[in-house]
Symmetry: C2
Subunit: 309 residues, 2 copies
């Protein structure tokens, strides 16, 4: 495994010198750089080579599975399909970071198409960090596509963070929830320079007492542009909440378009959004503690993103 890959893995997916404990699959420049299954978590390559299937046995508790992906050079455009089959009553953690790096003018791109099939009562905590690095002029792109199908009483909690350095990202999420299923998403996005990120979320609450809680926080610095569109659809007795807050710095711009569809009398849907720069009073307060204006702003922004998830 490449030294660069190791560094990226440390930054995006809790990798240590000793490697991962438990099940894992490491994807490096479009190939497999390591794979391990456990008794409860089976990872299999798809017959056509397009990706992997992760089978988590019913009742599996307390295990973690790591499926990071890295691109370490230009002229690599990786596309992979990862399907997660999570058995009834399982309760696991999935760590799925992604790093893209280029030192040349070639584009480094990773597109992970993830499908989550959670059976009855299954519980998954999904953690994902995205990072772009390298001094090349090549575009660094990460565009995750996520599809979730949550059976009765299943709970999927997703904490996703774009740390920075990703030039272009389109983040698409679709899915559906059955009775009492819950989808909780905390998304934190940082852009700078000429970076662009688009979030597009469209999920149906079909089951009785299903619930979605979607919290997106973003910081748009430099000349970057972020677009946010969420569509939460309540087709049954259900509750939906979405919140998108953005901080502008410099010439950063944000367009936030959250959408709520209530197609049932007992759908309760709420949304809040706020866009603005860091409040002057906050900066002033930290400056009286000895910080420079830049340090104060940096500290406020970090707190804003860290508080999410």
């Amino acid at each position: 495994m490449d030294k660069l890959t190791e560094e990226l893995l440390k930054a995006v997916s809790d990798y240590t010198e000793g490697g991962y404990t438990g099940a894992f699959n490491i994807r490096e420049n479009g190939g497999c750089a390591g794979r391990q299954s456990t008794d409860n978590i089976q990872i299999e390559g798809k017959a056509d080579g397009s990706g992997i299937d992760i089978y988590i046995k019913a009742g599996t508790k307390g295990e973690k599975v790591f499926i990071p992906a890295c691109v370490t050079r230009g002229n690599v455009s990786d596309l992979v399909y990862n399907d997660f089959h999570v058995g009834e009553g399982a309760d696991v953690v999935i760590v799925a970071g992604c790093g893209v790096h280029t030192d040349d003018e070639g584009e480094a791109a990773h597109n992970g198409i993830h499908s989550f099939y959670l059976e009855r009562g299954a519980k998954v905590l999904y953690e994902e960090k995205h990072l772009g690095t390298g001094e090349g002029t090549g575009q660094k792109k990460i565009s995750p596509v996520t599809h979730v199908e949550l059976a009765e009483d299943a709970v999927l909690e997703m904490n996703t963070i774009q740390l920075g350095g990703v030039d272009h990202s389109v983040r698409t999420t679709t899915g559906s929830l059955e009775d009492r299923a819950k989808l909780l998403i905390h998304e934190s996005l940082m852009t700078d320079g000429d970076e662009y990120v688009m979030t597009d979320f469209d999920v149906d609450m079909n089951g009785e007492d299903s619930a979605i809680d979607l919290i997106s926080r973003s910081v748009a610095k430099g000349n970057s542009y972020q677009e946010y569109h969420s569509k939460i659809k309540g087709n049954n007795r259900c509750t939906g909440h979405s919140e998108c807050d953005a901080i502008l710095v410099g010439k950063g711009r944000v367009n936030a378009a959250p959408e709520l569809y209530a197609g049932h009398l007992d759908a309760e849907l709420i949304h809040e959004a706020a866009i603005g720069k860091v409040a002057g009073e906050q900066i002033l307060k930290l400056r009286t503690l000895g910080l420079t204006e830049e340090e104060a702003e940096q500290q406020i922004i970090e707190g804003f993103l860290r508080a999410n998830g």
Copy 2:
């Protein structure tokens, strides 16, 4: 003037037996049923017959101008262009209700294309009520198109109410605001049966310290469907706030899609939305005071809409 027209005028635009005081223009089934100018408010028919120009002299204070429109039978599809030229520092009230009525299977439709040009420091309170009546099977349609251009320090406050009985309505608003201009909108929409209403708002805050406050409240009863889309664009130092709240009754459905664009570091934009049915506790409380469930719900809904504007 038709007896029906008189009744509609009373319902939608403060008409009394004595007629209107001050400037007015009454539109009835696509024709003019009365017009009066005053020293300060001049109403002129457009040369091509497509509508009227309303000229309000600079500095005019405390005057009201009435420009209601009615359609009282099927097979009338009225389209009219009304342009409001409001001079510097004027401070006036414009009352512009619309009623459509059909007792047969013919469609009764009114489409008012309104343009508001407010000069520096002008202030306008605009009031509009929409109503559909009659036992005919013909569709009753009212689709207002509103364009606003607010010069420095101009303030336009719009209170618009769809009382009920309108089968189909698309409400489009576009415009732009210069320095310190303010646009305040209170919209209240009531639909029932198979009625459909769509609000589409798209306004630019181009001026420094311009402001938009947009509050939409709606009640969707029966099998009706309401769509709401607002786009508030902050292109300068400015503040934007929008709020859309909807109450569902029966099989009523609502889609709310408010959009905020921050294209400037000092744009401060906020949005809230909530969709749901009337809270059970509220109904219970009123029932202990002797109201039936239906009366309690009715009272809560009326209060919800009345509190807006």
